[in-house]
């Protein structure tokens, strides 16, 4: 038996390297086609938008001949496929053009606004995961109990409430009435010029520069939108945690662990959760990706100068370069996070590691 065992591993070993090579190739192909698709779809949407891009550049009141000249400059008279080809070439060399709205290169803009979105999404995900996972575990362990019902209702309400509406009401309560939190925005204008962002992640910057008052102000700004997003990811995470935990708790190895005489706490928090963690990582990563790309409405409500707001603004101003660039960035982040969660999955699950 031992012999046949090693034989099998040997045979598998031969093809493993090749299969890994194929997997990487496949992944690269996925990324490439996804990018191409993203670029194509956004580009054509951009061209169909019934807004004259030239108008966006010269403004509402420009005389006709000025508009016409800009149209020529933009190459809008060329056939669509040529325009796309030009755009593709530029995009592939990392040049998404200049945003007409901000007059900066799109990449510069994105470098500035994206950290804000990441910061917000990260806070949201942390809140969601730190609260959601234990709640989900609790609900699974006490299935059918009142706790389970409460967690379920919390989750369902989270799925059901319009975020922009909740955000409005929260602002009304916590800012207008109670004045506990700061005005929508990322940081108070007072600090805008007294502290220098380095990484673009203000919280990190402020902490590193030991600007505690700035940090406090940042906290007062992020807490409301962060909690709001956190609530939404909590709803999702707790739900999924519950279902994964239920699945794990019904497995035979849990019975075996009990047969070993382990305590319930260890069985739940160590054995079951450790196994549930494997798919949970993907869920959390997905929810993180969702927050990164889906915080358009939150950013609108809370005047959060992030990518969502940037894209929405650009869209409304026919700033197609910015829209395209932003979309491609979000798309690549999505693909990247998927890849990352895949890798994490692999490290967490020994079964996928050596296969």
């Amino acid at each position: 038996m031992a012999i046949s065992d090693t034989n099998a591993t040997l045979r598998h070993g031969e093809s493993r390297a090749r299969r890994r090579g194929l997997a990487i190739l496949g992944f690269l192909l996925t990324v490439a086609t996804t990018f191409l698709g993203l670029l194509a779809v956004t580009f054509f949407i951009g061209r169909v938008v019934p807004i004259d891009p030239a108008l966006a550049i010269v403004g509402d009141r420009a005389p006709a001949h000025v508009v016409e000249r800009v149209r020529l400059e933009l190459g809008l008279h060329l056939p669509l496929y040529q325009q796309f080809w030009i755009y593709l070439k530029q995009a592939l060399s990392g040049d998404f053009g200049t945003s007409v709205l901000t007059t900066n290169p799109v990449l510069t803009d994105i470098k500035r606004v994206f950290p804000a979105t990441i910061e917000l999404a990260t806070v949201g995900t942390i809140i969601g995961a730190v609260l959601g996972v234990p709640l989900g575990v609790l609900a699974a362990v006490k299935r059918g109990s009142i706790i389970d019902q409460i967690v379920r209702v919390i989750g369902l309400v989270g799925y059901s409430v319009p975020i922009f509406w909740l955000g409005l009401l929260a602002l009304l309560l916590f800012y207008a009435k109670l004045n506990w939190v700061a005005y929508p925005g990322r940081v108070d204008i007072v600090y805008e010029y007294s502290f220098t962002p380095v990484t673009g992640f203000f919280i990190l910057d402020a902490a590193m520069q030991r600007q505690w008052d700035v940090l406090w102000d940042l906290f007062r700004h992020i807490i409301l939108p962060g909690s709001l997003l956190g609530y939404f990811s909590l709803a999702y995470i707790s739900r999924m945690t519950r279902s994964f935990m239920l699945n794990e708790l019904s497995q035979e190895y849990i019975v075996a662990a009990r047969a070993k005489g382990l305590s319930e706490a260890r069985i739940i928090w160590f054995h079951a959760l450790r196994n549930a963690a494997v798919p949970l990582v993907t869920v959390i990563a997905l929810s993180y990706a969702g927050l990164l790309e889906g915080s358009v409405l939150t950013e609108t409500i809370f005047a959060w100068p992030g990518l969502g707001l940037y894209i929405t603004n650009s869209l409304q101003n026919a700033d197609m370069n910015a829209v395209l660039g932003g979309t491609v960035v979000i798309g690549s982040v999505f693909v990247g996070i998927n890849l990352l969660s895949d890798l994490l999955y692999r490290t967490l699950d020994p079964r996928t590691r050596s296969r």
Binding site: S4, A8, R11, H12, E14, S15, R18, R19
Partner: protein, 249 residues
Amino acid sequence: MTTALSVRDMTVVYNGFAALDRVSVDVSHGESFGIVGESGSGKSTLLRAVTGLTCFQEGSLTVDGRSYDGRKRDTSFYRTVQMVFQDPYGSLHPRQTVDRLLLEPLVIHGFDEVDRRIARALDEVGLGSGFRFRYSHQLSGGQRQRVAVARALIVEPKILLLDEPTSALDASIQAEILNLLEQARRDRHLTFIMVSHDLGVISHMCERVAVMKAGEVVETVPVEALERREFSQDYTRRLLTASEGFRRD
């Protein structure tokens, strides 16, 4: 005697792993042919390759005088060859009633008098009409396996492939299914190819047996030879010893 089914040098490779390695088997008309071997030795793979559920990369297959390639089977093939699977819980569609399950092959092959045929098929496998409109979850394992047999027989095939048809069942129910299969074979002059890891079952049901190990047929012997312990492979003896129960030495 004519050959009902002939497999020559059949090779099946999964991701570089040879699940079947140049396997040759000949089964004549009316014969009951057994295949034994340990888990993973390629028994199921052989049957699946014959039925076209898995493609074989090399070798040839002849059924009833017609040869088939690794990939394609036409409808008439499935009127000649049918199969019963190992797991009675997995081989019935979970959302279909017995009636619907039996109707499907009749519709596909364009049979008439479907109602009568279904009723008769159920009778034949010892399930009354009371079972006709049940869902598979309303059936016990033995009943399910009967439905599976009825489904295989309803298109009146000549060759029946049986992939461990009783290994998921209790011994008492196994006997009922084995009897049922034997009865059907006798009534319809069927050719059986039966896979099992239980030598007792094989020796009860079959006339010849092939012993498989790691994707290869190590030997093919008449069942009587097994009983008389006349075989050449050590591996076969180990199987035989093990199937006699535990022995303290």
